[in-house]
Structure formats: structure tokens, C-alpha cells
């Protein structure tokens, strides 16, 4: 190991590894340096200059985030020079920012607002620049709203879109005072290659990028006595919600979440985990059919690898970027849309409700789900399958608005019919979870035995590695599946679209051959989704993943095909996986989109 570097920060001596930045060294010494453009998920930009510090012997201040420590550096993070400069930089940012805080969606959670408050910028006498610029708000997307007047040009969104997602929908254009964050030819974000994953929202320090919220619409529906409002909650919501309500990352309070939803006035509180289990039945069967088509019938029309279709950010991405591979996508709708289609058919029938009166709401860790629910084809029930999609953050806002003391809620259970789930449904919220759930069921369907991993934990597909691979050899299958004897099922898992791109490019080049690929648009899977609590970071996502697997561990049933309500729905309604009703309600098709 290389020798350490000794430095002093505000007179405190610290020893750090070579290459450590001043920002991280200060943290080790218990000194916090404010930042704006810095984000743990992203490369260093060093452009906001809020983190400047003084280094003895240097004429100029240095950006702590971008400057590596050197032997015997003497650093001052709060000298008068630093204090004045930093304060003036915050003032400059405010002069260029639409600081109408009380009418901002991010009021109370804006990083610039916090800095202004910390540094007590009481008198703002720089000339306000906003009136001189022709800002307009891009409101065309059903998922993302972009307001340039609140942008501080930290480029966190640009780096997110490039480094985490490889999409590059957001870029920097122009220079000087005209410099701005925009899209291809300044089109609306709704009309470009944007996957609507919402990672830019998760990484924006201000209110420049926010989700389109449907809070008031949902309140209206709840209070409308003629409406029956049914809500579903995605797996990852239960491991994120607590963070917005004062709990530490890694908390999972499913019972309290259900109780809170009931208190908000939803008529039925059900679980997207149920349709996650259902997805496994449909998707697993589809995979086996494709394998049979390829291996037995040698049908050239059968496309392998089959790719999962649960993540609407990924779906929109592949529609833009790899339209020639749309045939590889499973035709299964995402669990949200399966739920929506069933809510206004199966549920309506069972509860004897007019589907017209049902308002179907979903709570998602995701902004792409807002886009997905708005797709024209998502109305197989004869109505809009999902009426409103709220993010985890929006749910937290509603809980606060309703004055619910979350920690004092008594645990409650999901309602019956579409509220039962297994551990397999829960882990859908983590990268690799959909794959693991599918393998648990598919292997057992084929061999009659449990998947050969200790405690059903398929560890090779777990964890935060960008691309994970696993191979499972099928031995002694049941009679019906003898053609799979000795087949090594090759699987890959990717999360974050930049990794999806890696996988897709290596599939296209032919350097890999898989049978089954799980792709989630967001880093860490849904638990790191664009609708999850802010901030996000690798540590936070790791904690949320631990919570998800702990939830799975604690479930009595951990295999989708054992979900009694799944068994029931096939018995009473759908008949069998890939049956006619399934085909009509649970499967979909995809659309090629332009690549800019």
C-alpha cells in the first residue's frame, strides 16, 4: 500500500490515502465543506465553486472537491477569504436563480435554499438576472418538468444522463450568459431520447427538474364519493418511504405504509408485489416457450435472449436506441400496468364495481411509470388502466399533508384479492431481483426441485456490480421439459442504462450469448429509482437493497408460483399463463422511437 499523506485542515492533522480530495479529507477530520455541483454518484465537475478552500502558500482558493491533498498541505476551510468568497458565490447563484421559494415544488428540500439559509444571505443586492432571460417551463412530459429559471448550471443532471444512464438527453449548450442545460435542438424533453427515468430529478439540487405531480388530482379522487379509489404500491416504495418521513435509509415499514394509505382514504390498498409475482408466471412461461421454440422447433422467429420488460425507463430507452431489438423484449406489461388492467376487470368484477367508477392509483419509485401509464396502448381494460402515478416522494407529501404521524401508525395489511405477495415479488425492487424471482420459479417448474442455491438466495445476481452474469445448468428436468436437459441457462443482469448499453452492445456484437437478460433503468434497480427519496448515493442504495432482501427473508412464501392469490386468479379468471385473457390484459407491444 502506498504511504499516506499528512495534511492539516484548520489546524487539525489528518492522514489520508494518496489521491484523497480535500473535501473527503475534511470529512475524515469532521469538517463539512458545503457543495452543490458535487455528487457521490458522479464525476467531479468543480464548477459551482461553493466548496472553495484556502491552501497556505497559494494565491487562489481551490475547489475542495477537485483538489487532491498533497504532503504537508495546510488547508483552511473557514478563513475570512473563504467565507467572503463562498458567500458571494451563493449570492451570485441566487441572482441568476428564480428564488420564488414559496411557490417552488422543492421548497424545503432545495440545496441552494439550504445554503442561502446557512450563510444567511439576507440582503441580495446583485441585479436579478432572471428577468433578462427568456425562460420557459417545459411541461410537455407526463413525467418530468424542467424549469430553466431555477437551474444553477451545476450539470449534475447532464453528468447523470451521461455517466449513469448513457442517454445524453440533457446536454450543455451555448456559452457565457447564454449557457444552459438543454436537449437536442432545444426540443421538449418529451420529444427527445429521454427515457423519463427521472435520475436527473434525483440528482438536481434545486427545483429545475422535478416530477409532474398528481397529488391534487388524487386528493380530488379520494374525496369524490362516486369514485372507488384503489391504490397499489411498488416493492421499492416500502424501503424508501421512511427516508422522506424522518427514518434512516434501510428502514422498511410496510405495515405502517399500508396503514397510512388507508388513513389517507384510499378505498382499497393493494400491492404491486402481487402483480410482480404474476409477472413471473407470465414472463417465466414466456421464457420457457421461447426456449422451446428455439431449441426444439428451431423457429428463426423466436428471439433470444429474452429481456425483461418491467422497467418502463428501459423500455423507452430500447425503443429509442435499439429498436431492432424490440422483439427480444418480453411482451409482459410491467407489474404496474398488469395491476391496472386487472383493477378495472378482475377486481371490478369480484367487488361488483362499475369499472368506470374506479380510479386506479399507483405509488412508484419511478417517474417513467408516469409516462408508461400515459401510453395510449395502456387501456386494455377499456379504460385508462392506471389513472395516476405518484412517486414515493409524492406519497410522503400526502402523508405529511394529512398530518399522519407515520411512526405512530399501527401496522396494517394489504387488502385481499390483489394484496398477497411472496418474497419473490418484493425483490423485484432491487437489481437482479426480477431475475432471481424468475429463476426460483422457472427452475422449479422445469425440474420439480428448488433452485440449487442455499436458502433460495441466488447471490450471483445480487449486489451493485453494473453487469452481473449467472449460469444455471438444468439437470433431470420433468418429462415435459426434457429438451432442457443439460442446458446451461445463461443470464445477465444490468442496472443503470449505461450498463444496459454495455450489455446491448455486446449482445449486438455477438461477443456474448444469453438466454435471459434483466435490465433495470435505474442504478440499483427500482430502489434507486427516479421517484425515490432524495438524496441518493451508493451507500443509500445499498441500505435500501439490504432492506429489500431482509423483507424477502422474512416472508413465509418466497416463490411467486406459491402466491395463493396468483393461484386463485388463474383459477377464477385468467385460466393459465399466456392464456387468452392474459394475452389481452397482461401483454403489450412496443414502438420504435426517434433517436435524438
Amino acid at each position: 500500500m502506498a504511504k499516506t499523506i499528512k495534511i492539516s485542515i484548520n489546524g487539525i492533522f489528518v492522514e489520508v490515502e494518496p489521491g484523497t480530495t480535500i473535501l473527503n479529507a475534511a470529512q475524515q477530520a469532521g469538517i463539512l465543506i458545503p457543495t452543490l455541483c458535487y455528487h457521490k454518484d458522479l464525476c467531479i465537475a468543480g464548477n459551482c465553486r461553493v466548496c472553495v478552500v484556502e491552501i497556505a502558500g497559494q494565491k487562489r482558493l481551490a475547489a475542495a472537491c477537485a483538489t487532491p491533498c498533497e504532503e504537508e498541505m495546510e488547508i483552511f476551510t473557514n478563513s475570512l477569504n473563504v467565507h467572503h468568497s463562498r458567500k458571494q458565490i451563493i449570492e451570485l447563484l441566487l441572482s441568476e436563480h428564480n428564488a420564488d421559494c414559496t411557490s417552488c415544488y422543492k421548497n424545503g428540500s432545495c440545496e441552494l435554499q439550504k445554503l442561502a439559509s446557512d450563510y444567511k444571505i439576507l440582503k441580495q443586492d446583485f441585479i436579478p438576472l432572471v428577468p433578462f432571460k427568456n425562460y420557459s417551463i417545459d411541461k410537455l412530459s407526463p413525467a418530468i418538468i424542467k424549469d430553466d429559471s431555477k437551474c444553477i448550471r451545476c450539470q449534475r443532471c447532464v453528468r447523470t444522463c451521461e455517466e449513469l444512464q448513457g442517454v445524453n438527453a440533457l446536454t450543455v449548450a451555448y456559452k457565457g450568459d447564454h449557457m444552459k442545460i438543454t436537449t437536442f435542438f432545444e426540443k421538449s424533453i418529451n420529444n427527445v431520447v429521454c427515457s423519463t427515468c427521472g435520475q436527473c430529478i434525483n440528482h438536481c439540487p434545486t427545483g429545475a427538474l422535478v416530477e409532474r405531480n398528481y397529488i391534487e388530482k388524487v386528493w380530488d379522487a379520494i374525496s369524490d364519493k362516486t369514485k372507488h379509489v384503489i391504490v397499489q404500491t411498488a416493492p421499492a416504495v416500502r424501503v424508501g418511504l421512511g427516508e422522506e418521513l424522518g427514518l434512516k435509509p434501510g428502514s422498511h415499514e410496510t405495515g405502517k405504509m399500508v396503514a397510512a394509505l388507508k388513513r389517507l382514504g384510499f378505498d382499497a390498498v393493494m400491492d404491486t408485489d402481487f402483480t410482480a409475482d404474476l409477472t413471473i408466471m407470465e414472463e417465466g412461461t414466456e421464457l420457457l416457450m421461447r426456449l422451446k421454440g428455439a431449441l426444439v422447433d428451431h423457429d428463426p422467429e423466436v428471439k433470444l435472449p429474452m429481456a425483461t420488460s418491467c422497467s418502463p425507463g428501459w423500455i423507452k430507452y430500447i425503443e429509442h436506441m435499439y429498436p431492432d431489438y424490440l422483439g427480444h423484449l418480453s411482451t409482459c406489461k410491467s407489474p404496474q400496468q398488469m395491476f391496472g388492467a386487472l383493477a378495472k376487470t378482475y377486481y371490478a368484477k369480484a367487488r361488483n364495481l362499475d369499472p368506470e367508477t374506479i380510479v386506479s392509483v399507483s405509488i412508484m419509485p419511478c417517474t417513467a411509470k408516469k409516462f408508461e401509464a400515459n401510453r395510449p396502448e395502456m387501456s386494455d381494460s377499456g379504460y385508462r388502466d392506471v389513472d395516476y402515478v405518484l412517486t414515493t416522494r409524492e406519497l410522503a407529501i400526502m402523508i405529511k399533508q394529512a398530518g399522519l404521524d407515520f411512526m405512530k401508525m399501527e401496522d396494517a395489511h394489504f387488502d385481499r384479492l390483489m394484496g398477497e405477495s411472496t418474497g419473490a415479488g418484493v425483490i423485484f425492487g432491487a437489481t437482479g431481483g426480477g431475475m432471481e424471482a424468475a429463476l426460483r420459479t422457472v427452475y422449479e417448474l422445469v425440474t420439480g426441485r428448488e433452485v440449487p442455491f442455499k436458502n433460495l438466495d441466488i447471490t450471483p445476481v445480487r449486489g451493485m456490480e453494473g453487469v452481473k452474469e449467472a449460469t444455471i445448468k438444468i439437470e433431470n428436468p420433468l418429462e415435459q421439459w426434457v429438451f432442457l436437459e443439460g442446458v446451461e441457462l445463461k443470464c445477465a443482469v444490468a442496472h443503470g442504462l449505461v450498463n444496459a448499453k454495455r450489455v446491448m452492445d455486446s449482445i449486438r456484437s455477438g461477443e456474448v450469448s444469453y438466454h435471459f437478460v434483466e435490465i433495470m433503468a435505474c442504478p440499483g434497480g427500482c430502489l434507486g429509482g427516479g421517484g425515490q427519496p432524495i438524496p441518493t448515493s451508493p451507500e443509500i442504495r445499498r441500505k435500501r437493497a439490504e432492506a429489500i432482501y431482509a423483507e424477502d427473508e422474512g416472508m413465509p412464501l418466497r416463490k411467486s408460483h406459491l402466491n395463493p392469490e396468483v393461484i386463485k386468479i388463474y383459477k377464477d379468471f385468467l385460466e393459465h399463463p399466456l392464456g387468452e385473457k392474459s394475452h389481452h390484459l397482461l401483454h403489450t407491444h412496443y414502438t420504435e422511437r426517434e433517436r435524438f
Partner: protein, 394 residues
């Protein structure tokens, strides 16, 4: 005043001696270490404006172990009032090409690039011809060095070395964080020597005549001669090669129109010197000569008493507001505030004390901006506002 007249003309750069082949082979017969020592003892400093010792730059890059290194000639001459590099490239291109190849030999680079300012496209045909001839000779004499031209697209900021690398790599021309410095990680992340056109032309002189000939020109800390782009209210605008260390009074004596009110030394990012400080100001790098000594990329703009200093500053700030890359807060927002601020004071919308707030702002910009552009806006702003405050207000 006339008695202290000390303006010394020099004639090295444009002297076309047509002996580049000889200088090239002579240099290649020496060891890299000898060449570095020659440069170091000449005390040549970068002629682009920043004044970094050239020998040290080559030495640092030579010492880094890497399979690929690059030599880049910075011909993105964009500083307002500077027009010497284009003249060098059209008059004596072989001096520059030769020095690039010698630099390549010294540091271990096989590829050289000329980053040519977009507006200088008219130099292309002749320059390309010179490069072909040069590369042919290199091939004949077994010198493994190629030179390509990379055209800029007109952004001032791309003259900043790391923004220039970004631009060459096909990215947005935005300065990088330093460290790492180009000697370790420059173009394509490889060790890179990047020199101004004029700097390379001077190294030619040094390799030809030896360090002493160059060192003997100029004064302590500011050795050698330098090209000056003289413009503004002068009866004889043009490019002049002068020894460094002259006093501004002598310069004005020679080039002024008899009514010189102020001289802008070093372009928009340099300093404005008012008449009362001419005699205590010397032109050169650090080290006190007479009073203040001002480094410069060679731009000397003379203003006579018909000029409004408010308009001059307004013009500079308009330039910076537009040419800031827009990346860092102090520069992007600072330039807008300075420009709007002086206009507001002029119109009486802000009182005169607001100028002090703006002066403090330029201090912040100098301390915190990411690159030389934002840091140097303070130079012209404070030197104009402090010396001509009344012109800003009334």
C-alpha cells in the same frame, strides 16, 4: 523623459534564414537533456501571456513515463488586440514546425498538433504546404514526427490549454480542473507540451544561436525579446519585436500619438495603465523593475483622451460575458453582474458605492474562478474602475 529612452528593437522572429533543416538536424544530434538545459538557461518564459518557464515545461513532460505524448502548438490567438501569431505562421512557419519536432524529440512525442483559431482558416493552404514539405524532410531524415492542424471554432476559451484539449477531443471547450497539469495529463489524458506559437518561434532562436544570445536580451526575470501587437490610438500600429523590460513611458514615447491617456497591456484580460503610471510601469514578468511590471501576451492597446474608459470597460465586459464558457459560477454570473452593474451605476440606478461591491466581486472571481479567464477579468475591471472611477459614474 526622452533621456531615459530605452526601447530596444530586436529582429529574430521574422528573420527568414531558411536554415530550418540545419537547425533541426543540429538539434537532433544533441541529447534531450542538453536541449532542455539550453532552454532552461535561456530563461524563456511562455509568450502566450501566462509566462510559465518553457524549459521547465519540457523537462516536466520529458520526465513522465508514457507510451504516447503530444506536442501542441497553441495558435488559438484570441486575446483582443493580439495578432502576432498569425503573422509568425504565415511568415516563418518552419521555425514553429521545427521547434515542435525538436520538442517531440525532447519529450518523446511522435505527434504534433497545431490548434488553429477558426478565423485563421485563410492560413490553411500555405500552412498545409509547409507541413507537407516539413514532414517529407522528416521522413527523408528518419525523424518520426507528424504534424496535424486542428481547426478551432471560434471560442475564446479554447485558447485556455485544458479547454483546448477538450475541444480537440471533440467535447465542449470547457477548462478542466487542475491538477492534473498537461505535463502529466493533457490531450487524450497523455503528457502534453502545449506552447504558444511565439514561444516555439523563440525556441528556434535559442536552438540556433544558443541560450546566451537570447538571455542577453531583456532584463532580469524577463529575458529575451517579445512580439508586441500595437493597436489603438497610435500612428504606427503593427507588430514589433522588442526587448522585454522597457518602461511603458518609453513605449508610449515611441508609439503614442502625443495624447495617450492610458494603455491596455495584455489585452482585455490584462491591465489598463493610466498616464500617471507610465513611467513606473515596466513590461515584463514578475520581479520589481521600476514599479509595477506587467506580463503580456503582447497586446498593447493605446487610448487617447478622446476615449471613454466606461466604453472601453463596457466593451471588455461584453466580450467576457459572451466568451466565458459558462461553466463556473464566479465567471458566468460574475461577468453578467459586472456588466449590468457598471451600466446601472452609469444610469444612476445604483449609487457609486455599488462599484466597491463590484470590485469585491472581482476579488472573489480572481480567487475562485476555475480558469484564467474568470480570474483575469478582475485585472481590467479593477485597473479601469480604480483609475477612472469618475468616468464610470458621470
Amino acid at each position: 523623459m526622452a533621456t531615459s529612452y530605452q526601447l530596444k528593437r530586436a529582429d529574430f522572429i521574422f528573420k527568414n534564414e531558411n536554415d530550418w533543416e540545419e537547425v533541426l538536424s543540429k538539434s537532433f544530434s544533441r541529447t534531450p537533456q542538453e536541449l532542455i538545459n539550453e532552454l532552461i538557461s535561456s530563461e524563456l518564459k511562455g509568450r502566450g501571456g501566462a509566462g510559465f518557464p518553457t524549459g521547465l515545461k519540457w523537462k516536466l513532460t520529458a520526465e513522465v513515463e508514457a507510451d504516447t505524448k503530444y506536442v501542441i502548438c497553441n495558435a488559438d490567438e484570441g486575446e483582443p488586440g493580439t495578432f502576432k501569431d498569425r503573422e509568425i505562421l504565415s511568415m516563418v512557419p518552419f521555425k514553429v514546425l521545427t521547434s515542435m519536432a525538436v520538442c517531440g524529440y525532447v519529450i518523446g512525442a511522435k505527434e504534433g498538433y497545431i490548434y488553429l483559431r477558426g478565423e485563421y482558416f485563410f492560413l490553411l493552404p500555405e500552412l498545409n504546404k509547409a507541413i507537407s514539405e516539413f514532414e517529407y524532410y522528416c521522413k527523408e531524415t528518419n525523424i518520426d514526427f507528424t504534424i496535424r492542424i486542428f481547426m478551432g471554432s471560434g471560442a475564446y476559451i479554447c485558447g485556455e490549454e485544458t479547454a483546448l484539449f477538450e475541444s480537440m477531443e471533440g467535447k465542449r471547450g470547457e477548462p478542466r480542473n487542475k491538477p492534473p497539469f498537461p505535463s502529466n495529463s493533457g490531450y487524450m489524458g497523455k503528457p502534453t507540451v502545449i506552447n504558444n506559437v511565439e514561444t516555439l518561434a523563440h525556441t528556434y532562436t535559442i536552438f540556433k544561436y544558443g541560450a546566451k544570445r537570447f538571455y542577453d536580451l531583456g532584463v532580469q526575470y524577463s529575458r529575451g525579446s517579445k512580439l508586441f501587437s500595437v493597436s489603438g490610438d497610435t500612428p504606427k500600429p503593427g507588430i514589433y519585436e522588442l526587448e522585454l523590460g522597457m518602461s511603458l513611458a518609453d513605449f508610449v514615447e515611441e508609439f503614442g500619438d502625443g495624447d495617450t491617456k492610458a494603455v491596455q497591456v495584455g489585452g482585455a484580460s490584462g491591465f489598463l495603465v493610466p498616464r500617471k503610471r507610465f513611467s513606473e510601469t515596466a513590461i515584463g514578468f514578475q520581479g520589481k523593475l521600476i514599479g509595477i511590471s506587467l506580463p503580456t501576451g503582447g497586446s498593447m492597446m493605446l487610448f487617447n483622451s478622446s476615449r471613454s474608459m466606461f466604453n472601453v470597460l463596457d466593451n471588455y465586459l461584453e466580450f467576457f460575458r459572451e466568451e466565458s464558457c459558462g461553466q463556473c459560477t464566479p465567471c458566468r454570473v460574475g461577468c453578467q453582474q459586472l456588466l449590468k452593474g457598471i451600466k446601472a451605476v452609469k444610469r444612476g440606478e445604483k449609487n457609486a458605492r455599488y462599484l466597491d461591491k463590484l470590485l469585491r466581486l472581482t476579488e472573489t472571481m480572481k480567487l475562485t474562478a476555475k480558469c484564467g479567464l474568470g480570474q483575469s477579468v478582475a485585472n481590467s475591471f479593477s485597473s479601469i474602475v480604480e483609475n477612472f472611477r469618475e468616468e464610470m459614474i458621470y
